[in-house]
């Protein structure tokens, strides 16, 4: 399959995944150094999903994200420096410090926000799809959500609404093997992708250690949506490599309480970034990207570090338009 892949696309996908991974490794470091307030949920391991999907999107397409949102934002084109400043709670952050990791948004590139409520983003994406229909535009909307979210009521409701109204929505369920601290199969009956059929929506499973596979599935779903044929559900399977939230050990005493080290190590063999790097026939290109990303992360941290915290009176701003 590699033979037919466009090298530019490969590099583009590599850059996106590399940015996400490096950004988050830095976030973890800063979190444990006590530099970041609040909660961070990292996306490490799942980069191929956001990347493969968002590579098919335009700036005027919309995504809704989750508590585990950094990857979706970066893949959709958010700036690392303003993201980082937000994580610091600084006024130069995307939300001027009002949102934090679970609520970062960049409306200028169609990112309607991370969302702290599991299942909360699906209806919002459906609404963006509705707007596209009302405006007779070929914009599409993507809802990213987890396996856990597929058990929330908004999941079935959203599939149904998007299906009967034939809305250009792509539902991307990231089955990362866990719903917080419980293995997915203990909580989630059947096969998530198959739930789509009952709503007359195509459902596909993709193994998300391979970004090209994800990209292709998303390409078809996006094309279908743009053509007016309605929604698609993609179940992308790939374990998360890190904790549910950084610092989860303070809550539950450590990750080996809910998965074994061996199983995790086996899963980490399926690293989408390594997989892609091995397929790319351009070591210089890769090295250039690695350097550029490293520099961008440095710059983002510097930007975040020097962004002032907001003054207390700012707490009352930004409520109403």
């Amino acid at each position: 399959m590699t033979a037919t892949i466009d090298p530019d696309l490969q590099l583009r996908l590599y850059r996106s995944m590399r940015s996400i991974r490096s950004f988050e490794e830095k976030v973890a470091e800063l979190f444990y150094a006590g530099r970041l307030p609040g909660f961070v949920h990292l996306y490490v391991g799942q980069e191929a999903v956001a990347t493969g999907v968002c590579a098919n999107l335009r700036d005027d397409d919309v995504i809704t994200s989750t508590h585990r949102g950094h990857g979706h934002l970066i893949a959709k084109g958010a700036r690392l420096d303003r993201m980082m400043a937000e994580l610091y709670g600084g006024i130069d952050g995307y939300c001027h410090g009002k949102g934090g990791s679970m609520h970062i948004a960049d409306f200028s590139v169609g990112i309607y926000g991370a969302n702290g409520i599991v299942g909360g983003g699906l209806p919002i994406a459906v609404g963006a799809g509705l707007a596209a229909r009302v405006h007779r535009s070929d914009r599409v909307a993507v809802a990213f959500f987890g396996d856990g979210a597929s058990n929330e009521g908004t999941f079935g409701e959203s599939l149904n609404l998007a299906s009967i109204w034939k809305l250009p929505v792509i539902f991307v369920c990231e089955n990362n093997g866990f719903t917080q601290f419980t293995p997915t199969e203990q909580l989630t009956a059947g096969i998530i992708a198959e739930r789509a059929k009952g709503y007359d929506v195509p459902g596909v499973v993709v193994e998300a250690d391979d970004v090209i596979t994800v990209h292709e599935a998303a390409r078809q779903a996006v094309a279908r949506a743009r053509s007016g044929a309605g929604p698609t559900l993609i179940e992308a399977r790939q374990w998360r490599f890190r904790a549910h939230n950084e610092g989860e050990e303070a809550f539950i005493g450590g990750e080996w309480k809910y998965r074994t080290k061996e199983a995790l190590e086996a899963a980490m063999q399926r690293d989408p970034i390594e997989n892609l790097r091995l397929q790319i026939d351009d070591p210089d290109g890769v090295a250039r990207i690695d350097r550029a990303v490293a520099e961008a992360i440095e710059a983002a941290v510097a930007f975040g570090e020097k962004s002032p915290l907001p003054p207390p009176e700012a707490a009352l701003d930004d409520l109403y338009a």
């Binding site: 919309v62 809704t64 952050g93 995307y94 939300c95 001027h96 410090g97 009002k98 949102g99 609520h103 948004a105 960049d106 409306f107 309607y112 926000g113 969302n115 409520i117 909360g120 699906l122 209806p123 919002i124 994406a125 459906v126 609404g127 963006a128 799809g129 509705l130 707007a131 596209a132 009302v134 405006h135 909307a141 009521g153 908004t154 409701e157 959203s158 149904n160 609404l161 009967i164 109204w165 701003d317 930004d318 409520l319 109403y320 338009a321």
Partner: protein, 324 residues
């Protein structure tokens, strides 16, 4: 001026805004036939690309309203009955009310969610609440409840043009009330109370159904030499605290009449007065409200729990004449 019902006034408001702005759309369960009438005839005029019947999935179609609004559409969502807000509560209280603030002011959400509220005709517990108190503490949302056809029209037009989520309650027991509505186009701005009757013995603050009760009570009381000033808050959030305080400072006496269970508008207005008009208060504040039970089915029970003009008048006498 035309004399029309509140329902007709709302229908006119929606129709005018649909005419005026192609981004306005209307959806909800059975809006084509329109259960309570505010969307009656719209599908014939504007077609199914503007008027959509929605499936039963309130959480999702309210949430979709936010997404559509953030994308430049101005959805007017009919949620039919106020108690269905509970099913959509997260999308209202935790999303609509917060997305703009959390995004640092990026989100713009011109969406109206409308539904009837209050009890009438033995609809029983699960269809009879007045849920607006719950939304008074929901931050970035506006909450409206008119009591006359003119207000209903002007406030609904203002709500549709507002760039924030607006929860627009329709007072069930007053939907058929007729009143004069200006012929020319007009808007009633959100956030301003209206003095529906002038008086200087006692202030009666009401909203929706209790405004009518307050006015009836005022007529009775006037015959007894008590001149009540009736303040219709109209918008519960933002609340026009100054108008309320001004009246209370003038009369020195306060009754708050509210069909909802408490804490709600009655508690809030009472607290505001106890904090900021204390020195001018000459008597205890009285509240008239529905006691904390579900609204019962059988007519004598329903009547027993709901406020009425008599209960409002009795409360006013109490604060004017002292406890009896």
């Amino acid at each position: 001026m035309a004399v029309i019902t509140i329902t007709e006034a709302m229908r006119d408001a929606i129709g005018e805004e649909l005419e005026r702005d192609p981004n306005v759309i209307v959806y909800g369960e059975d809006v084509e036939l329109s259960v309570y009438g505010a969307q009656n005839g719209l599908v014939e005029r504007f077609g199914r690309e503007r008027i959509w019947n929605a499936p039963l999935s309130e959480a999702t179609f309210v949430g979709a309203g936010l997404g559509a609004a953030m994308s430049g559409v101005r959805p007017v969502i009919d949620l039919m009955i106020g108690t269905f807000t509970y099913v959509a509560m997260d999308q209202l209280y935790n999303q609509a009310a917060k997305l703009r603030y959390m995004s640092g002011g990026q989100a713009k959400m011109p969406v109206v969610v409308m539904c009837v509220c209050g009890a009438r005709g033995s609809a029983a517990a699960q269809h009879s609440d007045s849920p607006y108190p719950l939304f008074m503490s929901a931050s970035g949302i506006k909450v409206v409840l008119p009591s006359t056809p003119a207000d209903a029209k002007g406030l609904l037009k203002a709500s549709i043009r507002d760039d924030n989520p607006v929860l627009f309650f329709e007072p069930l027991s007053l939907l058929g009330e007729k009143g004069e509505v200006p012929d020319e186009e007009f808007i009633v701005p959100l956030g301003r109370a209206d003095i529906k009757r002038r008086g200087d013995t006692v202030t009666i603050v009401g909203v929706g159904a209790t405004v009518k009760m307050a006015l009836e009570a005022a007529t009775t009381l006037a015959a007894e030499g008590i001149e009540a000033e009736v303040v219709d808050v109209r918008t519960l959030r933002p609340l026009d605290e100054n108008a309320i305080l001004e009246s209370v400072r003038k009369t020195g006496r306060l009754v708050v009449a509210d069909e909802a269970r408490q804490p709600g508008l009655a508690a809030e207005v009472s607290a505001i007065a106890a904090e900021r008009a204390f020195d001018t208060l000459r008597a205890p504040v009285a509240r008239v409200f529905t006691p904390n039970v579900p609204v019962p089915f059988s007519p004598p029970l329903e009547g027993a729990v709901l406020p009425s003009a008599e209960k409002v008048a009795a409360a006013a006498r109490r604060v004017v004449n002292g406890a009896t």
